[in-house]
Symmetry: C2
Subunit: 416 residues, 2 copies
């Protein structure tokens, strides 16, 4: 039996599930949900529990200036670059029990399996819990991984405030003060050998296809737009249709035309009109103004560029006699994960006899920033009905165990 096989076999799905359920008590909300925002007392409690479990697994704990929590289990070669895994522990306000925390606890489960099987890897193994991935208390998200990767200085986020007006900088200082007993660690500056992040899919594909594992090839790029169509509000009873400049009808024409250019036979492109506001929004008044959003995503930068750049022309051609304002509010190019790591994840799944497919990630993750520093990839496990950011978010104990086993195998291959 190989070492990878031994450690994967030592993964204890019941223990992992119990830890997830214990964590879900911290910030539990109705319907099995969790509301545990970053840098809150609940978050501090959750970190203390993780630190205790890590110490039980033979790891030491440290924290960096961005509040990222590090758990390190030494290898036989102290000079070797560590193998890194992890995710985040904060949730959405109406969040579930698995988004983020699963990636931290699956990596911790690998440490516990190492401890239980008495295995010491060659490379050190590290688990990280990144600060504020969700961005729902303090914007933007992924602050911890952005600061660690050198994408942004942590100080640039200091003045971000939450709904109560509290500054991120003050909340972070409070966390660090509360963890004064935890050793400090430099923010960044070291390059891991590789990073593997386990996460729930947050989409329906794996469940639909009856597969246990997604070997994530990258994070698709996104372009976000806000479109304003301005016509004339008018009396719905008195104004003939041909004399109207009806912003709602312009929207219907524009949306229909956009659907045509966004058509993708492979169903990879994501095109969403999710937010729409009407003025005056009165049942007996012609709409004078419609403001709507476009969320466009694709893993291929060229496709994303071409389709996104085509939007204005399509709107101009379809809108008719209304005024058009188009603003691009976000433009994130695709992240492409390391192909060798993706192959290793596939091989681990094959060795463990669980179904696996390659897939891009539709959502953002810390891995896209870590990928700037070291080879990175992600392991997805199925999300029931694709539901996420919702108390109904669910993955079964067995699915979560399979994910941890594939993670264990992959990390073992990397750490040898």
């Amino acid at each position: 039996m190989s070492l990878s096989e031994r450690v994967a076999a030592a993964v204890d799905g019941a223990r992992q599930w119990q830890r997830l359920m214990d964590m879900a008590k911290l910030g539990a909300i109705a319907g099995d949900g969790v509301d545990r925002a970053c840098l809150t007392p609940l978050d501090r409690d959750a970190r203390r529990i993780v630190m205790r479990w890590a110490e039980e697994a033979g790891a030491t704990c440290s924290v960096d200036a961005a509040g990222n929590l590090w758990l390190r289990r030494e290898g036989t070669d102290p000079a070797a670059a560590p193998v890194l895994s992890g995710s985040h522990m904060d949730t959405q306000p109406q969040g579930g029990r698995f988004d983020g925390i699963y990636g931290v606890l699956a990596a911790l489960e690998v440490m516990s399996a190492l401890q239980d099987s008495g295995v010491t890897t060659r490379r050190p193994m590290e688990v990280v819990a990144w600060t504020n991935e969700e961005g729902s208390r303090f914007g933007p998200g992924c602050m911890g991984s952005m600061a660690w990767s050198g994408h942004s200085e942590i100080e640039t986020f200091s003045d971000s405030t939450d709904a109560q007006g509290l500054r991120f900088g003050d909340a972070l200082a409070e966390l660090l003060a509360s963890e004064a007993d935890v050793p400090r660690r430099a923010l960044g500056g070291t390059t891991p050998h590789a990073y593997i992040e386990a996460h729930i899919e947050q989409g329906p594909l794996l469940e639909r296809e009856g597969l246990a594992i997604g070997a994530v090839t990258g994070i698709q790029g996104s372009r976000w737009f806000v479109v304003t169509l301005t016509g004339d509000s008018a009396h719905a009873g008195t104004t003939p249709l041909r004399l109207r400049r009806d912003a709602m009808q312009a929207f219907v024409r524009v949306a229909t035309a956009l659907n045509t250019i966004m058509d993708d036979p492979d169903d990879v492109l994501r095109f969403t009109i999710g937010r729409l506001q009407v003025e005056p929004n009165s049942s007996n008044s012609v709409a004078g103004r419609v403001v709507f959003t476009i969320d466009l995503r694709h893993p291929d930068a060229a496709v994303l560029r071409a389709r996104g750049d085509a939007i204005l022309g399509v709107i101009e051609a379809a809108a008719g006699d209304v005024t058009i304002d188009l603003r691009e509010t976000f433009d994130a190019p695709p992240s492409v994960f390391d192909p060798d790591l993706v192959s290793m994840i596939e091989q681990a799944a094959t060795a463990l006899q669980v179904g696996c497919r390659r897939m891009p990630s539709g959502a953002f993750h810390d891995a896209q920033f870590v990928n700037r520093v070291c080879p990175s990839a992600m392991i997805f496990v199925p999300s029931h009905k694709g539901i996420s950011h919702n108390p109904a978010e669910y993955s079964s104990p067995e699915q979560l165990e399979s994910g941890a086993r594939v993670l264990a195998w992959t990390l073992m291959e990397l750490a040898s």
Copy 2:
């Protein structure tokens, strides 16, 4: 010179304009607008001024239990049924200077013209200012004419409250107490010989066609619907388009299909989607629910019935895999005005050499309730750009004078 000609010639456009501008000072708001809600101190002041002008024109004043204000100028035959004209004096919160008050002051101008020319008609002439036509302070609108016509008892409106929680019944009692010196008159019970209401068009047709007068053939019928399309909200990044139940996309399909069945080559049908609400209305979430309104109007009851009844089938065919809820919230059949009165208005316009066309009214008016009691019709004058319920509402002094002349001629024909 006929009597009709004499009285029409005695209409004083400058006096009428000055009275409109004097009235517009009561509740003046920015941009030449007026905010003078029914049963307010401003409304009471406006009524006192109208009563003074009426007395100067040889009329007596009275008020009924619904607060409708009546101005009566006796004829030579006291037993003859009176000829009635008028409209309302209340405005929308962001109203203009002409909607409603013009119909009262044009009828008053005819009385003044009679007085100036020393003419006594055979039939008595009455002017009425109906209570609460707009319905924007207390719902519904047209309370005064509904109560007078026997459509509804005035007491049924007593518990309607304004935004401050004041009851209509209490506000009405306060008005009546403030007018204790004005003679009381029975609410309803008398049948006028005919009713002619002058009003601004509130639509763009007369201006577009360069015509001075609309001879209003009736008030189109209305059917209002609220449609709820329920799909599944989902992550905009992770959920493939083919696996979505996207309520926004369902709306776009439904609206497109409805446009097809609502197509009217004559451009008489009015079809409006004016209000739309999305849940969760987040730019990166697929819409789980869209609620929108349909306002459908047509002067022909059969067309209104057929198109309205077709809506559900069209939505069902177009909506795809979402749940549909359709509620009809309002169903008002068309009002057809007296053809002889419409012809008389056309003849008056011809005699006075001003351009005239027949047209239905797109908006509601008190005339549709008066029409239940006695032969009724309306005279429209042009609205600049069709704007109404807005401070920018505008009709020129000359257009308003032409309307009053045609009203004078028509009332003279009726009163002889």
